[in-house]
Symmetry: D2
Subunit: 430 residues, 4 copies
């Protein structure tokens, strides 16, 4: 295995961790690949910048942050000489931490839904395929790219390595909570990272938390809970994601119908035909998508141009909350919209929070994320919600309201002609 | 004059000022114009994100910040009932503060140099011309757009109004120093804004500083000084701006020579022909420019595709410091480069810090920025450098090194064939 | 009613609120009384500085902070012109906020237990009695001192005035959570004060919270919960308070027995005889108490001198957790201690967290604190735990372990001679 | 040499450095001595709490902070394997850093002036003499106490060890600037400690700064400059120190005259007779001094009781600035005061800033502090003011105004009877 120590440590100024320290030639080379540099052009929080104007930070900065948190955890483990820590896996952990997000596309969650892509697949495709990242990793040893892909896909043989990068208390979440809080400016995500790092312990193939650190973990989970409801699930962000999905859907449909677009450079055709190569995927960043939208505001198709204008100029949809008993009214709304010359396929959209990409901590669920374990003074492992009423309470909360989103300006014009029932339905405020 | 007070104050979460408060319908409507929303797609610090990965913040957020600082200053003046403050100018100040940057193009300083544009002109063109911003302003009163343009162009009759938005201690700088420090993560720009706001006084048509606030102003100027050398003039940022300028120059030249580009959508032709309309200018954001660069990495012209790849993948130029006695060597370098098959018009570039877009405080200079005046206990106004040795010392510093930038990878290949004199010149480290 | 506006606003630099603004002559005069200045010599967190070395902040700074939070709330109410806010009560609220703690004695909770004093009584005694504070208040109007006392005693006719200073979401707690977090350095108490201030509403004689502010209140209550367990109930602090109480108890006992102390200046005799005058009470600050302890380390009584040395040099007691079934063992421990020459009245002490001076939010309880009410969009008031699962969960937690504290050094020496049962009891770690 | 590594690292929560890490048994034992615990009862900033109410922090917390900064520097040196760093001196450096202030008395600068004491002498006396600290140090090796004293007295053979604890860029200053800024709440002291630590290098027996770190050092010196003028030399603090000195002077004089004090417990007599033992010195903390002052407010001597009341209740002296030409007037003022029944020895006092206990950076001066050296790329050492205009300018500033302090209330009463010249002198405002 080949990895040189850098002659002089490289340093990135980072607002969240103050500095990010790079000590290995391999890490330095990975950061300088074009696949990793591309992450500068993908925002960490997708459309959230339309809700929180500070949230323009990139997946590049987050990926460096995950690397740095991982580096700090491992360096704490090494300093304390914990026998359960497999020292030989350090570089593997650092590489997986750094690269775990390189497959993310522009406005990931929306584009993935529209085109049935998965960023995890793209991450592994880049690591295994013909890429600069692959070359750097293969320089360490011939099986190293495969090992990194295994860790990211959670199939690596040693779960302790996987759990550093991906678990309920992993470097990924620790960085994004702090980072998203910093750049949005909300107060919530600010748990005590130093304290949490101090109470982590490698223990029989897992990473656990010293019982005396329970309150620090409660605080972290509480931050997470607050960030979800205040930031990640913010209705304005939901609305802009709905617009995004509709744009993708409309454009895809037009393309399928043979519509001639005034703007359709590579790699758009391959995207619509779902046959992107790695080289094409690298061109597909948020600058490109926004440029396409800006050009499409001039398209003849009125639905597409309207949607693109909404997204760019932040004329978003508003929403009405939907109660369980509202099922029947939806058909009536559809009918009324159609009758008024609007298109129910685009001018209304249901949003179910259960589709949400982020999860609240729920230890009982079937998800693949490893739960948080406390290590008692008697050296037993106990899942945290058995000890903490706070965690139990957060885990149990199944919040989230179904909502119907609609274009308020277009609706306004036709509302007077609609049925009384529909009119009073829209009179509820979101 | 028509301006309604909003029924309920609107609030933006902002990491720098915690919250930004909007109380006037006019301000709210201006924010929602497409010209103002476009500022989301222009970074505040141009290419600095290639040096400081956090610096992705937009001119949208900065413009809101300038508005908020102005609002705070005025509200302080009103609360203290200072007789020298013209209360009737409040809305005008707020609008000018909010809009002063709407004319900025993508990567402003570089694109302006390449295409002889001026963002101030575009700002006034948008305010006076056929735009959503104009409509909103004209709704206040028919001469209101002109007044706003006058304030921004510094031709408005009351200098106190101009100086709020544009002077050596204006809302613009106070916001950008704090904001740029926050998003880059450097410690320097963090002067005490609250303290400065408390010592400002309207006085005989000017805004002055109570003498007891001198130390707070020293601290602000020191922050500014540090931000220039640590952030704004950082050599990596200089290098990326050089690449940018070269891309613009090369593309312009190719266009003039009739080269057929594989990617040349509107408004690129109008940009090259310097005849952009407002509508076209709105399409010209940083997403568009980055997309053009990404597409041009596939152009046949090797100089253009190489430069675009460098910019996107951060393979920047390095530099050698230039001493006064190096004048002769430059011709030799040019000759050697040419002989080696490189192109001195693109593969080397001189950088003179005197071209820098930011200025250090220099009270004696001919610049149009109003200097900082202290108001003594005897109610006299004294320019601050007469009282403060610190300010005197900062003002006197004419720092900055001339530098020669070059592509290290390309040079490396041909260096062995070059003259000994040139070889030892490049052996100096930057 | 007489109250002059200060010609020029006075300002205190404060680390928590940045600045504290004084605008009324009455407030300024109150701050300069000797009763208020005395609060500089009483720590906000009693003995917590022995656990968190930063926690040396005084009740003086906290009292200014409570005043400032109250001022901010009222100024927000006035700016929004809420009709339910009784504007004429502003000065009363500010005075009550500023003075609510002036009756606190040194190491309040411990000294009150030992000598059956109540700081609320002393606060009212000072406000009503012959004091500088009384003179200043009487200068406003003759019944003003009585009104201030009424607000602090919660007997004032308008509950909205009382609830600003004393309720589950009052200015008192908002300041102390932020302040104690700042000075101890823990991360927890940092909820978003600005956000909470923005969602408070005066409503039909109460102060309520706009429903959309529920998450901000959850965050505040969660901070409070964390502060209790991490700071206020910290076992080291409990231990030092036990030592304190024992010192007071021992000295009181010796005094009653006619012991001649080498150090017994005024007002100690009056304290022991429970007949302190206001003038004497003012002398009774933490400097005085610490000096007495330092002098008493030289007393002949070995129990007293040992306890005083422990307190000063931080040689505290350790603890064993007590389970329900341990009731019988306590008698055995007492017996064993006595047999070994120790004194069970001083060399062991039970600590029940139910005696704790701070309360977790429990809406159902009989306490006099007004609960937190949410104001729904339909203008109904709902107690927050009906809407928030988080609050419900925190309220339900009856945590806290009974503990037996003991001097580890003294016990160590005699442990070998003790009964096996007692030995294994002490082998449990705290 | 004996020093055990602690089984488990001990940790102190610290607001400035987040955590302070103790890894050596020796350090742990030193912290638990009564001499070190006494530092909890000595404020770091003396009387500054009367100006900045947050400034109640103790020398205990500062001493831990100096230790922690030293630990971080050394751990950086060890991690980078710098050959010029003498590894064997680590424990010595840490002990000297921790203990360098243990000799400080209450309100150090004032009491030292009044009683001709020097805290450095007391520090060495405690380290060498019969003390708990001595025992712990002697446990390392018999000559270890002497070595620690040598480092603190700057007589240790290796200057690199001395300069860590005491130089123009030492751990002492780095901690106190950050700490004093934190607790006072001023913005100024917040330079980038991490950055400075990263640019320090051991080099040929000295600690130097990599040239590229010059801006960080400029920022540190600028912080220092601002802290001096904003905090350390604040006129209110100067005034309270004058009162302090006068109290000490008056009490000493009365004692010499045989006055019978109502409060004169040990160790006051020894203090007045300048024959304190270590044991007595330990009793002499700020609680004791404040208690004496409180008791002395009841003394018959009116000058003493008045001064003590002023100090406790913050009724301080005000000042008039003194120009060079004012020399003659002082005699007239003295005469007038005497004539009016006041006492010029106590009711006026000149304050010369040249007596100030803190120094601005002045490389040319004869002081014993090692200057700040930059290490150029050519491995040469250059004193920083040769490279930095900012530093040059700060160093050259000889600011500071002579001032005459006086009791405004007492003066007010007699002013009408004074000479016109004196009356107009006092009409100048401070």
């Amino acid at each position: 295995m080949r990895n040189e120590r850098l002659m002089e440590e490289k340093v990135f100024k980072d607002p969240v961790h103050k500095y990010i320290y790079v000590q290995d030639q391999t890490i330095w080379d990975l950061i300088n690949t074009k696949e990793f540099q591309r992450l500068r052009r993908i925002r960490q929080l997708g459309t959230s910048y339309l809700t929180f104007h500070g949230a323009e930070h990139s997946r590049f900065s987050h990926s460096l942050g995950v690397y740095e948190v991982t580096r700090k955890i491992i360096s704490q483990f090494e300093r304390s000489h914990y026998p359960d820590w497999p020292k030989e896996e350090k570089l593997l952990c650092l590489c997986a931490a750094l690269l775990h997000d390189i497959g993310h596309g522009p406005f990931s969650h929306s584009i993935e839904q529209a085109f049935e892509m998965h960023h995890e697949d793209w991450t592994c495709r880049m690591i295994r395929g013909d890429s600069e990242v692959h070359s750097v990793l293969a320089g360490v040893s011939s099986d190293f790219p495969e090992k990194v892909a295994d860790v990211i896909c959670k199939t690596y043989a040693k779960p302790i390595v996987v759990s550093l990068v991906s678990s309920q208390l992993d470097a990924d979440r620790m960085d994004y909570l702090l980072r998203d809080a910093y750049f949005t400016g909300v107060n919530y995500g600010t748990f005590d990272l130093d304290r949490i790092l101090r109470v982590l312990r490698p223990h029989k193939g897992k990473i656990v938390v010293k019982e005396s650190g329970m309150h620090a973990v409660e605080d972290y989970l509480m931050s997470r809970y607050q960030m979800y409801w205040q930031v990640y699930f913010h209705p304005v962000t939901r609305s802009s994601e709905i617009i995004l999905r509709q744009i993708f859907r409309r454009a895809k449909q037009l393309y399928a119908e043979g519509h001639v677009f005034r703007f359709m450079p590579d790699p758009l055709p391959s995207l619509f035909e779902q046959k992107l190569t790695i080289e094409e995927y690298l061109l597909l960043d948020e600058a490109f998508i926004q440029t396409a939208f800006a050009q499409w505001t001039l398209e003849r198709d009125r639905i597409l141009s309207d949607l693109c204008g909404r997204f760019l100029n932040r004329k978003l949809y508003k929403y009405v909350p939907l109660e369980a008993e509202d099922v029947e009214i939806l058909d009536l709304v559809r009918e009324n919209l159609e009758r008024s010359g609007l298109n129910p396929a685009y001018h209304m959209e249901l949003d179910f929070p259960s589709d949400l990409p982020y999860d609240v901590y729920r230890p009982g669920e079937s998800g693949e994320k490893m739960p948080i374990l406390l290590l008692t003074e008697q050296e037993k492992c106990v899942e945290i919600s058995h000890k903490s009423e706070i965690v139990r309470s957060i885990s149990g909360i199944h919040k989230g309201q179904n909502q119907l989103y609609y274009p308020p300006d277009l609706l306004q014009k036709v509302l007077p002609q609609m049925d009384q029932e529909v009119r009073s339905f829209f009179a509820r405020r979101g």
